[in-house]
Symmetry: C2
Subunit: 174 residues, 2 copies
Amino acid sequence: MSVTDPCELPADRKRGSNFGWSLGMVLRRWHERVEELLKDLPHGSRGYHILAVVVHEEVPTQGALAARLAIDRSVLTYVIDDLANAGLIERRPHPQDRRARRVVATERGRQTLAEAERQVAHAEDHVLGGLPEEQRGLFRGLAARAAEAIHAAAPATDPCVAVQSVLPPSEQSG
Amino acid sequence: MSVTDPCELPADRKRGSNFGWSLGMVLRRWHERVEELLKDLPHGSRGYHILAVVVHEEVPTQGALAARLAIDRSVLTYVIDDLANAGLIERRPHPQDRRARRVVATERGRQTLAEAERQVAHAEDHVLGGLPEEQRGLFRGLAARAAEAIHAAAPATDPCVAVQSVLPPSEQSG
DNA sequence: TGAAGATAGGTTGTCAGACAGACGATAGGC
DNA sequence: GCCTATCGTCTGTCTGACAACCTATCTTCA
């Protein structure tokens, strides 16, 4: 198959080979664009992610929502506050557990998300403007798959890597 | 007009379709791994990126280094301080311009970077463990290309996108 | 030559976000 | 009725990003 075409730079460890830097670059740009697009949405991209999960998935509690998005519970509190104040979602008591809250989207929330998704998808296409069109979807798909695997396998720790110093042991010091 | 909406991604707007979230997830994991690996290197991944550019490229001045990495000059100051204290790089006066400094790698810096690159490459393979092996290189290549385009075309602003609110205009307010 | 502005690097202060920990309310086991 | 675990909330701390300012030096122009 011809998928090997796009990444020509072979073992050329020049700047392009810096994966972390590249990811950071793309993500930063994504943020710039999306935060601007979503400046009317409470908490911008963060509110967007939360709203998306609330709309598209049935998440039983706030805690489950936090786990799904891999964010801190304390963040959820005030973001949900503001999304609720904007009329996009509602916090309802959980029928079985009075400690917990169910978070459900309102109709307005669903509409807002749909519009936001349209605009964000368009912005993402811009962000990936450096890739030929058919590779953008490929890139998204790969990112999604990699992220899902990380999230699934990751309670944020994985003690399977032995660490040794990268510094040479202070060589011949004479 | 036919903008040809290339971003259809059918109805599968489930969680995987959240590009920004996916990128953030992968990058966060990358950071976790790499910061652990490089905890002996001053400023971890940041020092790593800087050291890599200093070693692999001829960058005339600190300012050029900052521009190349798209980071703030004020950050460079103390990271370079600490990399120099660790004996990995040297700050030399610029022969033509006494305001500027040339930053060059020491032999120890080159060795350290080589070892760090080996370990980081290995860690990256772990981070992308959710992808089949041949797609990992593809993903890196796509990320590198997208990032390079962003960096090249991006003085951090691009006023070509008209922003309109994602919120419905407070519908029937009566 | 000397003044004015531009540029390099460095320093400081401010701000937002991440994260840990404490807290009240409630559930579940005994 | 007690004891412990869990849910959501609140608070404080810590870190990194970023802007603003400063000094030294270069460049330009009169």
